[in-house]
Amino acid sequence: MQSSLILQNLVSAPVLFFFLGVLAVLVGSDLEIPSPLPKLFSLYLLLAIGFKGGLELAHSGLGSQVLLTIGAAVLMSLLVPISSFLILRTRMDGYNAAAIAASYGSISAVTFITAQSFLNVLHLDFNGFMVAALALMESPAIVVGVLLAKLAGQSGDSLKGAKAGGLRWREVLQEAFLNGSVFLLIGSLVIGYLVTSFSPAGLEKMDPFTEKLFYGALCFFLLDMGIVAAQRLRDLRRAGPFLIGFAVLAPLLHAGVGLGISRLLGLSQGDSLLFMVLCASASYIAVPAAMRMTVPQANPSLYISSALGVTFPFNVVVGIPLYMALIQRFVPLS
């Protein structure tokens, strides 16, 4: 079962384009998606995923299971950074530990989308409100990360922390909640909700853009992600085996906890996979941009390389089918 799931996942177009990007770097091709084209695709994906999430949230309503699930997701985005920090702190300075921890508490929208495509192929349903969970997991992890960095800074091992002075709350909240990616995702979610509720005639006209085009645009973006992830592999060697190990084991651990919570909440198989993927994935869009500003003492190449160079490919290639296999074992077909 599990091996057929892996194969099923491997020969999907998005995953294959990811590999094509990786291969381009490994064989030394000069294939590149010049800037700002990748930004076009990331803006598009955030807009489309938010809009579709809002649409489905409007259909499903805000019942108690919806609120419980979202609450559990937010809780995970607060706890994961703390536990990750405690693990990472054993081997690295506080700033880097905090910034990496924030990454793993937050989510990867592209991993989430890839899991949705995977569910589509398996003809398994999932709920639209999971996108709301996704949207709400970005900011708390950033805030926790900054607090941890601040704590670490005070406990004396700061690099250039003396200069950083008091916590600039305004800036931290700005980076956490008004970060361009977070803002677009949440804004599109609200717009999708409003349009569905008050002007459903507009939905059909958005459909070719947000729905039909989505899969192809995802392939294009994953081609670029493959290139960027492969370029990061070099940095990774410098990061050392501890961080690489963390980047593979943390998603497994977090996915495991996510599976437990899914069982408690009684989520369907599809929603369980998405919940596990939210817990297991690490952010390489919103969080790095926020950490660069709020925890400048941390080394970006560490948190970007582990999230984008290891955890992201791991989740997309191995994680998603593996989590699905676990779900098929432990979560009843509703």
């Binding site: 010049p34 800037s35 700002p36 990748p38 930004k39 695709f41 990331s42 250039k160 200069k163 950083a164 970060n179 361009g180 990616s181 670029d224 290139i227 960027v228 370029q231 390489y284 869009i285 919103a286 790095p288 941009a289 660069r292 500003m293 400048p296 970006p300 190449s301 970007i304």
Partner: protein, 93 residues
């Protein structure tokens, strides 16, 4: 007249422009999408999609007496976020 060349992360461009404006320079120019190598290692455009950006090159032509104020305004930013600056001689065309 002096020419000042600054190289720093795109994320801090607004902060830097505010600092040099406050120092009283008559104008400045900003080139974004600059890649490079420095103390912080190699900077590419690969993470642009995330809003992280690459480097920016800020060019200021100003009277010599403004240079200390520019330097003082930038020091705290460069200390926290990295970035380098250079000065040379120039005249108006």
């Amino acid at each position: 007249m002096k020419r000042i060349d600054l190289f720093l992360s795109e994320r801090e461009v607004n902060k830097v422009c505010k600092a040099i404006s406050k120092a009283g320079v008559p104008g400045y120019s900003v080139i974004r999408h600059v890649t490079g190598m420095g103390l912080a290692g190699e900077i590419s455009e690969a993470m642009d999609f995330s809003g992280l950006g690459a480097n920016a090159h800020v060019i200021v032509f100003c009277e010599p007496h403004l240079v200390p104020a520019v330097r003082a305004g930038l020091r705290p930013l460069f200390d926290v976020y990295g970035g380098v600056g250079f000065v040379s001689e120039a005249e108006p065309l």
